[in-house]
Symmetry: C2
Subunit: 457 residues, 2 copies
């Protein structure tokens, strides 16, 4: 009956649960650079724009129909909708709506989409508790720091193994953020992280289905509830993250502990957050940009005989769907992304509509794209060679796609994206005021004006 | 940048998600032997007794305080209490209360405690939907079958790695059970399993804290919500369990697929469920029984100089806490269990009270116990040698502890345990009527009488 019960237990891991909890509970309000402060506001507005924009998505409808069965109280808003539900359900639904377009933010070191779980947990809690915008921004920066630092500890092995790292670290970020917003002390915050650590969410197998978006939503709900439970005295292991049968060692084969605490309070992971110009998996973005550049040169879909791409390995691993049947699966198709870039010069949510994905000319164009892995190509790059029907060749090389660390989206482009997402839901004028409220969140006395502006009608 | 992205993907795994979903949706009501039908009722009453008995536990108080922050509707009862909350929160709280005494059931092949996640999801849903007792029993048998079969696929490697298998398979059992109760078809049930598959709960590091009990509670809530979401049209991967980056291959290093479907509909895993005579980790039970036998021979604590135990390896791995500080941690101490067995002749919840754990004579007695692993000892056995102060030695060998498959608890003993748990909460007369209602659940037209009897006052 004897068996090898735990292959690789590291019993000497540093006390990262305690260290991160102490940091979250005690770091000074606004204790970071202006650049970090600005990035926090950019992260917030990008997240809220995505949530508002997708508020009528069928995944949001289905989730709200399930939530309605609980006869929830009307304590918190669902941005982009007139529904109000309890704050835990609001976190769930907002996590879904902010992610379902695959248009949200990306922590480029780990491919975590951090705002989904963290901000979705925060906004309804802030609404119910009457928290200030300053408290929300503080909690957002610190919560994202926790999620992404734990992601750094485990990435890439954890992600490679099959975990959708957004949901499997997001509940820690949400717990940290909500603990901060609630004013929990270090010990209570440690318990909140411990409670959350038992509830990782997300399998990569779900990509292309609504459950991908459940991952940030369920993580937001779990983290928010973990903080509320810790506040009420619920206990967990004080070493939940680092113990031999704790979170990291159970769900990852990589554990680079130093990532959790190196330069803690000096380096903020939100600095590595980026925003998507295209509504799909970020690894496809360089290829879309290259095809859009081709279109800008005047090359039309009919002129193209074949498009050859050299891509980073993750492109085909994550987004290799050759014949996507609908919009959700097309978001994981470099072939559809390229077709959209060439046909329309853009790849927003409209270009991933089911009807567009199923158009005969798009099917034909997708099949002209041939992608091969080239290990010399990094994640933000692509090399494209288009062979035209007249035999000519066009070459486009993208070294750093827009939305990469090297070429961040400008504020103006981000504002444009916000309007693109929100105008149809809220009207352009109200969307503009919501955008301004997001940009000034850190000085708002509470979130009620922002919530009102995010509500249609 | 190239890396080994997935070491051991099995791309040819059989379609167990579809097979289990079809089974759950289509197996005939009551389509099993009388023995299985009886075991389902035993499982139900043991679970409800535990939930009622622990209704005033501080973990339940803390969880309900957090739930109260959501201003929940009063649609479902919390057995043993007068509180009413929404059905998802009721599932959460009941999963906690039924497990926090560590007195619940055990599927002996996997150490899964299956009723916690499955029955806790079912009862509030049945109350809200007005389901019949027949529907509840059907859903219970099928839900437990799904959780335990998936457990068999992964056990022991998955558990060894650090997962608390009760919570990391329980959300599948809860989803299956609730899907059955809601009358979902095969395809919808497949989606429910898929949605649940992204939400495994539970780390073994949490043993000895309240979060251990959160595991069946959060799994119950996740599974119930997964079924409600699937009913509302939420989608997931149709191969969520078996795909290369699906549930099993992501969270386990063992994948014995045949366990999922062999003799499906013929062999029911609830047949391997057992009930605890002692309120602690089941691997300690043989040692407690041996010490209680010693007490029955007239040996007193003062007479004992030293107790030597030969135990199965899991005893020290799971329950090796030498100096437990409180009741929760004492449940994971073979030393405290032995002291209780010898001092009191029993080890119910009372013998794990903080005050008992901290008694000076119990501390002294615990320190007289020396446990060593013997790989010849199986999980239901123990070999005890007591050396008395006068030099005499007493030997007790337990080959099959009470509660093992070979020596199941009788109905009479189970009824006694139910009264021991419920009388102080409900009064003996009402507890007796509740017990009768549990025994007749399969023929009840709904669960309202059972719920009324489980409510104090």
């Amino acid at each position: 009956m004897a068996r090898n019960t735990h292959v690789q237990a590291d019993t000497n891991a540093p006390a990262i649960t305690a260290a991160l909890a102490h940091f979250v509970a005690t770091h000074p309000s606004g204790g970071w650079s202006d650049a970090i402060e600005a990035e926090a506001h950019r992260t917030w507005l990008n997240w809220l724009g995505c949530a508002v924009g997708a508020a009528e998505h069928e995944a949001v409808h289905a989730a709200l129909a399930a939530v309605a069965q609980l006869q929830p109280s009307r304590q918190a808003a669902v941005p982009g909708r007139t529904d109000r539900v309890d704050m835990a359900s609001a976190a769930l639904v907002m996590g879904i709506s902010s992610h379902v377009f695959d248009f949200d933010d990306t922590h480029l070191k780990t491919i975590i989409h951090p705002a989904g779980p963290v901000a979705s947990a925060l906004l309804p809690l802030a609404e119910v508790k009457g928290a200030s915008g300053r408290q929300v921004i503080d909690a957002l920066v610190l919560g994202i720091d926790v999620a992404c630092r734990v992601g750094n500890v485990m990435y890439p092995d954890h992600y490679d193994r099959g975990w959708h790292i957004t949901g499997s670290t997001g509940m820690l970020g949400a717990a940290a953020a909500c603990a901060r917003l609630l004013g929990l002390n270090s010990q209570q915050t440690q318990m909140a992280l411990g409670i959350a650590a038992s509830q990782p969410v997300g399998l990569r197998e779900q990509f292309g289905t609504m459950t991908k978006s459940l991952h940030p939503g369920a993580a937001a709900r779990a983290g928010q509830m973990a903080a509320l439970m810790a506040q009420a005295g619920y206990t967990a292991s004080a070493r939940a993250l680092e113990a031999p049968r704790g979170f990291v060692q159970t769900i990852s084969t990589k554990a680079d502990w130093s990532e959790a605490t190196s330069e803690l309070g000096q380096r903020f992971e939100i600095a590595f957050n980026s925003y998507k110009p295209y509504a799909c998996g970020i690894v496809v973005h360089p290829a879309i940009e290259a095809c859009a550049a081709l279109a800008q040169r005047g090359v039309s879909a009919e002129q193209v005989q074949r498009i050859d791409l050299k891509v980073h390995p993750l492109v085909l691993e994550l987004c290799g769907k050759k014949e996507p049947a609908d919009g959700l699966s097309a978001k994981f198709s470099v072939y559809h992304g390229c077709a959209a870039g060439l046909m329309f010069g853009r790849a927003g949510e409209d270009e991933f509509a089911d009807a567009v994905v199923q158009r005969a000319d798009m099917v034909v164009l997708r099949r002209k794209v041939v992608a091969v892995v080239d290990t010399a190509i990094h994640e933000a790059a692509v090399h494209l060679t288009a062979t035209l029907t007249d035999g000519r060749q066009e070459v486009v090389h993208i070294e750093h796609a827009v939305g990469s660390i090297e070429r961040p989206m400008s504020d103006a482009v981000l504002d444009g994206k916000f309007h693109q997402l929100c105008d149809s839901r809220l009207g352009a004028e109200k969307a503009g005021r919501l955008l301004a409220a997001c940009r000034q969140l850190g000085s708002a006395s509470n979130v009620s004006q922002l919530v009102a502006l995010a509500t249609p009608g």
